[in-house]
């Protein structure tokens, strides 16, 4: 057979949040008359499921079902400040802001419940839309009744507010009215020492490949990636991020460049015929494993995991190629031409 199998490892870690002092998100949670809530966040929905995560975190904090939550997002006039739906930051940073805002609403409901039930606030808990005395599930009031009592009987409008700013370095502004410029460095300019990162995610990967020694063509047989997300707020959506990022990493490893090595000086790739991204036929079997090492400052322990799986397929596949045919790829993508020329150079 002209095909050889190889296996390769790779591991990485990645920041959560942005490398800047001002990296806040904020949220507003408004209680409606029937106990449902509206969450306002300045995050945008880019497909990763950020708005669903906002709903689930708010619902968890209030002890209601996520179906009783609606989310308004991404509007500079109607939603509060957000640093951006980027950098694996939304679940961690926006999520903390939403949790705080929902917590204020919960506190108001608990206050009403404590008065109605004549118990201490500390003795209450909330679950499935029902606030009850801890350990006495039957003894309580529905969130819907509490909302009504709070809004109409107590005449108290409940709007929860939350902001979250990671405890990274402090901003140093340079300049004046013409425009403040951030002093980007939260690290010592000479030594780079400092604490610029909000939180970290981790991942490890193993790739198994088959290389055709006559053509240099690589087939990725199976890619396994384990990713530490702290806590999976929504495993279905998390898997989508992990699978999609890993698949993008496979494209990066084998196919993608706007400046082909065959024409290194300059070439514009102007369409998706020349610039190939993988179809359903090109994608290998990708196994994603969820690891949960809770971050003490993350909402319910969550870190961020929108980006990290794109990192490892490249090196894991290249290490597997080396294991298979002894060719060390030092320039991505690992095209069949570069592998074949490496094989020929050995002979």
């Amino acid at each position: 057979m002209s095909k050889r199998r190889g296996r390769g490892w790779a591991a990485c870690y990645l920041k959560v949040g942005m490398l800047r002092s001002q990296d806040a998100s904020s949220a507003i949670v408004e209680l409606k008359q029937d106990g449902s809530i509206v969450v306002l966040v300045g995050s945008v929905e880019v497909g990763a499921g950020t708005t669903t995560i906002a709903a689930q975190i708010a619902a968890e904090e209030l002890g209601i079902k996520p179906e009783a939550v609606s989310v308004v997002s991404g509007d500079t006039e109607t939603t509060p400040y957000d640093g951006g739906t980027v950098g694996s930051r939304s679940t961690y940073i926006m999520g903390n802001a939403v949790r705080k805002a929902a917590g204020e609403v919960r506190d108001a409901l608990f206050q009403t419940a404590a008065e109605e039930l004549e118990v201490a606030v500390e003795d209450l808990e909330s679950r499935d839309g029902f606030v009850h005395v801890r350990g006495v599930p039957g003894h309580g009031l529905s969130v819907a009744d509490l909302a009504f009592l709070t809004l109409y009987d107590r005449r108290r409008i409940v709007i929860g507010r939350g902001t979250f700013q990671p405890s990274t370095g402090r901003v140093k502004l340079v300049g004046g009215r013409a425009g403040f410029r951030r002093d980007a460095s939260m690290m010592d300019p000479e030594t780079g020492q400092g604490n610029p990162i909000a939180a970290f995610g981790y991942a490890a990967a193993h790739a198994e490949v088959e290389v055709d020694v006559e053509t240099g063509v690589v087939e990725v047989v199976r890619l396994v990636v384990a990713t530490d997300c702290g806590r999976a707020i929504n495993p279905l959506l998390l898997e989508g991020q992990l699978e999609g990022a890993a698949a993008m990493g496979v494209d990066h490893a084998l196919r993608e460049t706007t400046r082909p090595q065959s024409a290194p000086n300059h070439r514009l790739t102007l369409d998706l015929t020349e610039y190939v991204i993988g179809t359903a036929l090109d994608m290998p079997e990708i196994v994603t494993l969820i690891v949960e090492c809770p971050d003490p400052a993350g909402p319910f322990g969550a870190k961020g995991a929108g980006e990290i799986n794109v990192i490892l397929p490249g090196p894991a596949i290249c290490n597997a190629i080396y294991d298979a045919v002894g060719v060390r790829i030092t320039a991505l993508p690992a095209t069949s031409e570069s592998i074949l020329s490496g094989i020929l150079a050995q002979a």
Partner: protein, 593 residues
């Protein structure tokens, strides 16, 4: 007009009649009939986002003339469900998380329907084949294939897995289908290009004809004479014609110079997109071509053509590089049993989100302006846009409709200021949607890096030292290149304990596409170098590559190269889980050779 004809066809089981000329079926559906579920994403039949069924067959509506639909049945995703009842495929896509950004979903569903109509119980291979004309950049296809396969399995009565197993009570941890998912599977999610306002104009840019040139004159008079043109703006029309996140070095519209092919020289608004593009092509620009440079190393040569007045080395708060140093690298390298020194390169990579950039601006009577843009960094960018327009932020509302994939590619200010200025000039809403070609011209790419890594390892497998020298290609403007490089440098030792570290990163301006944020933000490049070298070192030492990584992996209480202490470190558990899943045994490595 003599070259238009009347046609009748069935659209989702309703008969329709219209006059069509040479427009495609996609244009007729989206523009004439307002059916926006078939998406425009490549204009070349390559992505499948515009897939519709013509009779029973899936076709790319961008490749079919509208006239060809005469007398036939056209089905879009709206034709799948009947009223509020979803088609089983739509339900399955929703429950399996097969739609992420949702932009490819309508086309994907129609290809899947055509498959299941012809073959009710397809194999996995048949499913993959059937959707291979539909690109998805979000999912990696796994959940899409599962969603289709589950339906085949249901029909054959073998479906025993429920995708919606919810933990008892609680919200966190639930496999909840996304809240916006029903919009995606029914085609009712409205992305920016799906929005249309009364009296709306369409805008088209004129891009630079050269990689690097001086501009002597821009003459818009012939463009203005094209019937249907409402306005053309040039550099003189931009109130604050410099933008940039850290350094304001990028003209909104080029004035004295162009520095890459994606630089805008003029911007046209007209009654339709074709007229705008035609007028843009009539604009006359006198250029003086300057030498260009495309390689970051060559750009730092003393004789290289300067792209900015200060030269081609990107400044970092007045410094020439980013540096991270601790310990004594030289001593540690000389104490090492194995030293490996290798240079690694990574290429420029497009984000290639299925949804192209699009932006719509609408003025209101009180002088305020609303912009709809699929921008991932709404609040920071709205401040930048307001500064360019010299509008108080109270007069500028920026809304992000659902975004059809970003991956960092929609982080920057692109043509929002241009449509805004044209809207203010004409008093009418103005929309601009990029073609796929424009995506490859004017958007940003992942930074190409040249990375020299030197690792020193003791005989027992302990990493003693790491020396890293990275040179990055920023493209012609600073943008967020310093931040990306800083992150790259911080992570240039990988998830391992290294006490002696010397990392330096520099950036060069080139005449290539602008480099910007991209999923993994500098760490994709770093990990390629780090992990390739980890393998080479393990091999040189004769150590199992997994054991080598475990031995050096970060633990709670360790610090990063910048000295930041770590807790909740999950790398060890990640390695264990993968090892278990693949049944790792050390002897197998190298078995093929």
């Amino acid at each position: 007009m003599s070259n238009s004809i009347s046609i009748s066809f069935s659209l989702n089981n309703e008969s329709r009649s219209l006059r069509v000329g040479r427009e495609t079926l996609l244009e007729a559906l989206r523009t004439t009939l307002g059916v926006t579920s078939p998406k425009r994403a490549c204009d070349g039949g390559e992505c499948g986002a515009c897939t519709v069924l013509l009779d029973e067959r899936p076709v790319n509506a961008c490749l079919v003339l509208a006239a060809a639909a005469a007398g036939r049945r056209v089905t879009t995703v709206e034709g799948l469900s009947s009223g509020p009842t979803l088609h089983a495929l739509q339900q399955s896509f929703h429950e399996h998380g097969a739609a992420q950004c949702g932009f490819c979903t309508p086309g994907m569903l129609l290809s899947a329907k055509a498959l299941l109509d012809a073959n009710p119980e397809p194999s996995i291979a048949e499913i993959r084949e059937a959707i291979s004309g539909n690109l998805c950049r979000c999912t990696g296809y796994a959940k899409i294939v599962n969603a289709i396969a589950a339906l085949g399995a249901t029909r054959s009565g073998t479906n025993d897995s429920s995708p919606l197993v919810a933990p008892v009570g609680g919200s966190v941890g639930r496999r909840l289908p996304r809240l916006d998912g029903l919009g995606h599977v029914t085609g009712t999610t409205r992305y920016t290009d799906d929005l249309a306002l009364p009296g709306m104009l369409y805008a088209a840019p004129l891009y630079s004809a050269h990689d690097h040139a001086r501009i002597h004159r821009v003459d818009i008079s012939r463009g203005l004479r094209v019937p249907g043109v409402a306005a053309i703006i040039t550099a003189a029309d931009v109130p604050e014609n410099r933008q940039g996140l850290t350094v304001k070095d990028q003209p909104v519209i080029a004035d004295d110079r162009v520095r890459h092919r994606g630089d805008v020289v003029a911007f046209v608004a007209a009654v339709d997109a074709n007229t705008a593009a035609k007028a843009a092509s009539k604009i006359h620009v006198e250029y003086e071509i300057l030498p260009a440079v495309f390689d970051p190393l060559a750009a730092l040569d003393p004789g290289a053509p300067h792209i900015h007045e200060g030269g081609n080395l990107v400044p970092f708060n007045k410094l020439k590089s980013i540096r991270i140093r601790r310990g004594d690298v030289e001593a540690a390298l000389s104490a090492s049993a194995v030293v490996i020194d290798e240079t690694y390169r990574t290429p420029p990579i497009e984000h290639a989100a299925l949804e192209p950039h699009a932006m719509l601006a609408a003025p209101s009577a009180n002088g305020a302006l609303t912009i709809w843009t699929p921008n991932q960094v709404l609040f920071t960018r709205s401040a930048e846009i307001a500064a360019i327009l010299r509008l108080p932020m109270s007069k500028l509302r920026v809304i992000a409709p659902p975004i059809g994939g970003g991956f960092g590619g929609k982080n920057d200010v692109t043509h929002e200021p241009h449509v805004a200025l044209l809207a203010l000039r004409t008093g009418r809403p103005v929309k601009c949607t990029w073609s796929r070609a424009e995506e490859f011209l004017a958007s940003s790419v992942r930074h190409p890096y040249v990375m020299r890594h030197t690792i020193g390892v003791a005989r027992d497998g302990t990493i003693l030292a790491k020396l890293v020298d990275t040179i990055g290609d920023a493209g012609p403007f600073t943008n967020q290149s310093p931040a990306v490089l800083a992150v790259h440098c911080i992570f240039s030792c990988g998830p391992y304990r290294v006490d002696n570290v010397s990392i330096e990163g520099r950036l060069a301006y080139t005449n290539n596409q602008i480099a910007g944020a991209y999923r993994g933000y500098g760490v994709v490049q770093a990990a390629f170098a780090v992990e390739s070298q980890m393998d080479a070192a393990a091999q040189a030492l004769g150590i199992d590559p997994l054991q080598f990584r475990r031995q050096n992996a970060l633990r709670n209480g360790d610090t990063t190269p910048t000295g930041q202490p770590l807790d909740a470190v999950g790398i060890g558990e990640c390695l264990d889980r993968v090892s278990d899943a693949v049944g790792w045994s050390a002897e197998e490595i190298g078995g093929a050779r």
